[in-house]
């Protein structure tokens, strides 16, 4: 059912968007640079700030992969929506659990201080 004329037009496609080569290469280059940056960031000690930086860079990289390598930018919105929903629920899962474990840690710590043997490796 594909119209022949569609075939002729380069990079035109009746089923899905075709990612131009320069974009692919550009994204790749950026990813490499960012990778170098994260490693470099650990050479200088920024205290607690190292973590946000590392995570920030990772997130930028992830976004690039998702948008271009995975076509999300040109895809039907529903796919992107699914992806985001997943992230939201992961966040809910991790944050609430973390919050709770922070809250009850003292009772665990106290026990460990008072009964050293029972919880060694």
């Amino acid at each position: 059912m594909a119209e022949p004329d569609a075939a002729s037009a380069h990079d035109e496609h009746e089923i899905a968007h075709v990612m131009p080569l320069p974009v692919l290469l550009g994204v790749f280059a950026t990813l490499m640079v960012l990778t170098f940056l994260t490693v470099a960031a650990t050479w200088v000690n920024l205290g607690w700030f190292n973590l946000p930086i590392a995570m920030g860079i990772a997130t930028v990289k992830a976004t690039l992969v998702a948008l271009y390598f995975m076509h999300l930018r040109y895809d039907q919105p529903i796919n992107g929506l699914a992806f985001l929903t997943a992230l939201v629920f992961v966040a809910v899962f991790i944050l609430i659990t973390l919050l709770d474990s922070f809250q009850y840690q003292p009772d665990v710590q106290l026990y460990r201080d008072q009964n050293p043997v029972s919880t060694s490796e």
Binding site: A86, F89, V92, I96, T97, D100
Partner: protein, 556 residues
């Protein structure tokens, strides 16, 4: 032939019975390796019925043991294995796949007006996974059993010398079976809708299945990783959950309930979907508040993810978390309330026929009402301190799972039975057993509320004499219910051979699956049917001498 009248059937074989998905090809392989969603649905149906029988059998044995204080039939260990396997079989083998994979598989594409689900191979694979998972359960059951409770709490599960690994692997596989069903349904509903079938033209059962699929996809993987971690803990001793290695057993409970609470809405949403189909049909009234029922399904699915900690109010979870979870838990009860009242409003000034599916639906409203309302006691922080891990909880979840989901499953089973098998069952026996189940059920589980709030702990092989009367009544009720359900099985089996042939549309429903013949042809529809309001019963007219309904397109 009644079946040929308005089913779109072109050719008739010699013997007169029209070609349908059942008789189109023969041989065991044509079933085991079929890609036809209808046949897969039927195989699922048989399998989960068997599981229900197994789980029910264990339940009967448990009740017999509990009839009186002291030991009646089994020692502690046997009893512990009974309730564990009863719970695990009922949850993982019966109720989770129950409505979506069996009934949903059969009707979803037809209701949608599609030829099949989006990924028939994945669909079959999902069933095969179910079988493998079930085999693992059987293996565990026959080689040492399982005695951890279906919740598999650590550290007990690490100490237990029963088949935790085998059963865990089984549950893991069953989880993926469930995930694939979910993936399939989402993709199908998004991409297979014929022109005219807009989101808000979809029957509410499809909305329910869609909401369910969301949960299956988002929650089940967490069960998967939880079971992997548990296995790693047992095999390698990774220490994540093991306090003797610096691990945290409460973390396991968070993991487990992040899946298992949403899972209870995997169980109930499809049930609510069935009720939303049956009640308008047998009241010949347009469903009341279509949009809110549709939205509330999605709302329940999403809110359901924010409340898992209500199973941990006294588990030494922090007070802050407990408070948040309690608050959020109530948010789920509102959409449920809306549904209940909208169903009632649908019946207002209708023309209500008490056929078996309707009888089950009415008892669903009452029983789920009780189950849900008692959920409020448990969602409330201070009362849960008194009620947690008592028979009150046991009663609550049987009212919701059995009184809710199983009853709705029976409603759906009777509702679509003619469509699936092409046969009518015996109405008299149908109604009789439906009523018997209702009374047997209440006799079984209502006393459990009372003893529960008085302090009777769950998972007890033996109990103080002061609880005897309640346990005894409960046992009596369960035997009554058991017999009634056996009756259901028997007259349904009977109808397969001796039942009257079913017309295309015996109930006067307006959804698409009743447009094709009973049983449907292999491809469901020769030409894609025209879509109209699934709850508009005006064009559905009764045909007295054929005892069935036809769609007479009304001319404006």
């Amino acid at each position: 032939m009644a079946t040929t009248v308005d089913g779109n059937i072109t050719d008739l074989p010699a013997d007169g019975t029209p070609v349908n998905y059942l008789n189109c090809d023969h041989g065991i392989r044509s079933w085991v390796f079929t890609l036809d969603h209808k046949r897969i649905g039927v195989m699922y149906l048989i399998s989960i019925m068997a599981s229900l029988g197994l789980g029910g059998l264990m339940a009967m044995l448990m009740r017999a043991e509990l009839a009186h204080p002291g030991q009646q039939l089994f020692d502690e260990n046997t009893y512990n294995q009974l309730f564990t396997l009863h719970g695990a079989v009922m949850v993982f083998l019966f109720i989770i796949p129950g409505i979506p994979a069996a009934l949903g598989n059969f009707v979803l594409p037809i209701m949608l007006g599609a030829k099949d689900v989006a990924f028939p191979r994945l669909n079959l694979f999902s069933y095969h996974l179910w079988v493998v998972g079930a085999l693992f359960f059987i293996l565990a059951l026959t080689t040492g059993g399982l005695d951890t409770g279906w919740t598999l709490y650590v550290p007990y599960a690490l100490h237990s010398d029963t088949r935790v690994l085998t059963a865990g692997m089984g549950a893991f596989i069953l989880g993926f079976s469930s995930i694939f069903t979910g993936v399939n349904f989402v993709a199908t509903i998004h991409t297979m809708r014929p022109p005219g079938m807009t989101w808000f033209k979809m029957p509410l059962f499809l909305w329910a299945l869609y909401a369910t699929a969301i949960i299956q996809v988002l929650a089940t993987p967490v069960l998967g990783i939880t079971l992997l971690l548990l296995s790693a803990e047992i095999l390698l001793g990774i220490g994540i959950f093991d306090p003797t290695r610096g691990g945290d057993p409460i973390l396991f409970q968070h993991f487990f309930w992040f899946y298992s609470h949403p899972a209870v809405y995997i169980m109930i949403l499809p049930a609510m979907g069935i009720i939303s189909e049956v009640i308008p049909t047998f009241s010949r009234k347009h469903i009341f508040g279509y949009h809110l029922i549709a939205y509330s399904s999605v709302a329940i699915a999403l809110f359901g993810f924010l409340v898992w900690g209500h199973h941990m109010f006294v588990s030494s979870q922090s007070q802050l978390a407990a408070t948040i979870f309690s608050l959020l838990t109530f948010s789920v009860s509102i959409p449920s309330a809306i549904k209940v009242f909208n169903w009632l409003a649908t019946m207002y000034k209708g023309s209500i026929a008490l056929d078996t599916p309707m009888v089950y639906s009415l008892s669903f409203i009452l029983l789920f009402g009780i189950g849900g309302l008692t959920g409020l006691f448990l969602a409330t922080l201070s009362t849960d301190v008194q009620l947690h891990d008592t028979y009150f909880v046991v009663a609550h979840f049987h009212y919701t799972m059995m009184g809710g989901t199983l009853i709705a499953f029976l409603a759906g089973l009777h509702y679509w039975w003619p469509k699936m098998t092409g046969r009518m069952y015996n109405e008299f026996w149908g109604r009789l057993c439906a009523v018997a189940v209702f009374f047997g059920f209440n006799l079984t589980f209502f006393p459990q509320f009372v003893m529960g709030s008085r302090g009777m702990p769950r998972r007890y092989h033996d109990y103080p004499a002061k609880f005897e009367i309640f346990h005894f009544l409960s046992t009596m009720g369960s035997f009554l219910m058991g017999m009634a359900l056996l009756g259901v099985l028997l007259y349904l089996l009977y109808s397969l051979f001796k039942g009257a042939r079913a017309p295309a549309n015996p109930w006067g429903s307006a959804t698409l699956e009743w447009e094709c013949s009973s049983p449907p042809p292999k491809e469901n529809f020769a030409e894609t049917p025209t879509v109209s309001d699934p709850y508009d019963y005006d064009p559905i007219k009764y045909d007295a001498e054929k005892h069935c309904y036809h769609r007479i397109p009304n001319v404006e």
